[in-house]
Amino acid sequence: MFWTNVNRICKSGFINFWRNGFVSLSSVLVMIITMLVVGLMIFGSAVFSSSLEQLKQKVDINVYFVTSAPEEGVLALKKDIEALVEVKSVEYLSREQVLEEFKDRHQNDQLTIQALEELGENPLGATLNIRAKETSQYESIAKFLESKSSDTTGYASLISKVNYYDNKTSIDALNKIIISSTRAGTLIVSIFIVISILITFVMIQLVIYTARDEISVMRLVGASLMYIRGPFMVTGVMSGIVAAIIALIILYGLAWWLAPSSSIFFGGLNLASYFVNNFAEIFGIIMGSSIVLGILGSYLAVRRYLTI
């Protein structure tokens, strides 16, 4: 009997969805808007993360070595630094590479190039470019380097300069920007999503308000609570599925349309590629939240009329 009832409830929900065409359409449209807001928040979050990542990439700590520092000494320090958990990567630039880079950077500055040639030897030492996993971790890496440049293990005589304290102000500022913009972003996303959910709930309540007499009739013929709620919840699921599919199609089109400009303005993030590469996750979020919204909205809205 249980499965017969489930079958009847599902059938009734499907039939109601089609027969209440206009009402179903209204609820689907509102849910599409909600899901588009959710989708745009996902895109916004991706763009935001990509932009932050770009900024983070521009930050590093450089350790400059004296010209007499032997390569094996520098590489030993590199190994020690790489062992730190905060460190994402360490790039070693030999004296020759540093010189080449310097020349490249100043290729239009004849005076500097000329001065360099007049010296007759390479005046630049090797360099280690260190990237932390998080910008907030640069300080602890700097402290480690500070201890190495003042200890007695031999590194002190190799290190010419660590530029963390030159960049500290900008690193700290970036850190603050990242923290505050992440908080603001989360808050804005939450507000938008809550507003959208509330609008959807109100819409579902209106839809079920139109069926309040129907609910009272069901109660009077002795229908159980599940038998009354069930079809409305099935209708909610159907609205959710249809809304999610349409929202995903619109978001896909939007991603393609915005792809060229997003690549230019947001540091290489191609929204279309992002959509395709993360489709499973985006599909799960949109479809899941749409269905949950439909079920929950219907469940809560029907409850109000079940008191007879």
Binding site: I15, R19, S216, V217, M218, L220, V221, G222, S224, Y227
Partner: protein, 240 residues
């Protein structure tokens, strides 16, 4: 309580018993005062009275839609206001209801409206398929089984409502102004159907303002005024 016990002991259990029932609403005060009324099985009772006399409130108490402020409503030997939600559902499946405004499910066809009452009563698809056309034939609507309520006339809608009310073979039919929205021909049809149902052994309680049908029936008439029963005649007439 003593009264009902006595009745049961004599082997003469009433189908319905209002035992000193009063109903008070916070906003409008008492709408029913100290109602004592017994309805025996297979009786056809017309409840008459002006608007606001308390007729519909009595029916709401009988359907467990409302709880009495004082007193007890028994159906057979059950105090229906002590039933829990699940038991109320079971209880309502044993009662057929017909209303002035039909109260059909607008998005279901005549067939589906009747089938719905059977579905909630846990009847099988086979029973539904065999019983629904049969009952529609009884109310002379065999040709309209796939029509939606908005495609039916008032009389036809009421006949669908009656078909829905009787499909589970209830012990009691409650009809609240069933002819209130109908023309004289449809009114006669509906009353005739209710009489037939009663003749088959179902207790019928009907509220009405229609003098001619009450007089024509020549059955028990309970007259109400200001929330009280002022007259209860076994073969009464409409006298207000």
């Amino acid at each position: 309580m003593e009264q009902i016990k006595t009745v049961i002991e004599k082997g003469h259990s009433p189908m319905i018993f209002f035992d000193k029932v009063s109903k008070q609403y916070p906003s409008s005060g008492f709408v029913l005062r100290d109602i004592n009324m017994k309805v025996d099985p297979e009786e056809f009772v017309s409840i008459v009275g002006h608007s606001g006399a308390g007729k519909t409130t009595m029916l709401k108490l009988l359907l467990a839609e409302e709880i009495p402020t004082e007193g007890i409503v028994f159906v057979e030997d059950t105090n229906i206001h002590l039933l829990n939600k699940g038991e109320i559902n079971d209880f309502r499946r044993r009662i057929g209801t017909v209303f002035q405004d039909f109260r059909l499910l607008p998005n279901k066809t005549a067939y589906e409206n009747i089938a719905f009452a059977m579905e909630v009563a846990g009847r099988s698809d086979g029973e539904i398929a065999s019983d629904v056309p049969h009952v529609l034939e009884l109310v002379d609507l065999k040709e309209k089984l796939h029509n939606f309520p908005h495609e039916l006339s008032g009389g036809e809608k009421q006949r669908v409502a009656i078909a829905r009310a009787i499909i589970n073979q209830p012990d009691i039919i409650i009809a609240d102004e069933p002819t209130g929205n109908l023309d004289p021909v449809a009114t006669n049809d509906v009353v005739n159907i209710l009489q037939k149902i009663n003749n088959l052994g179902t207790t019928v309680i009907m509220t009405t303002h229609n003098k001619s049908i009450v007089d024509a029936l020549g059955r028990r008439v309970v007259t109400m005024e200001m929330g009280k029963i002022i007259r209860d005649e076994p073969a009464g007439r409409y006298n207000l």
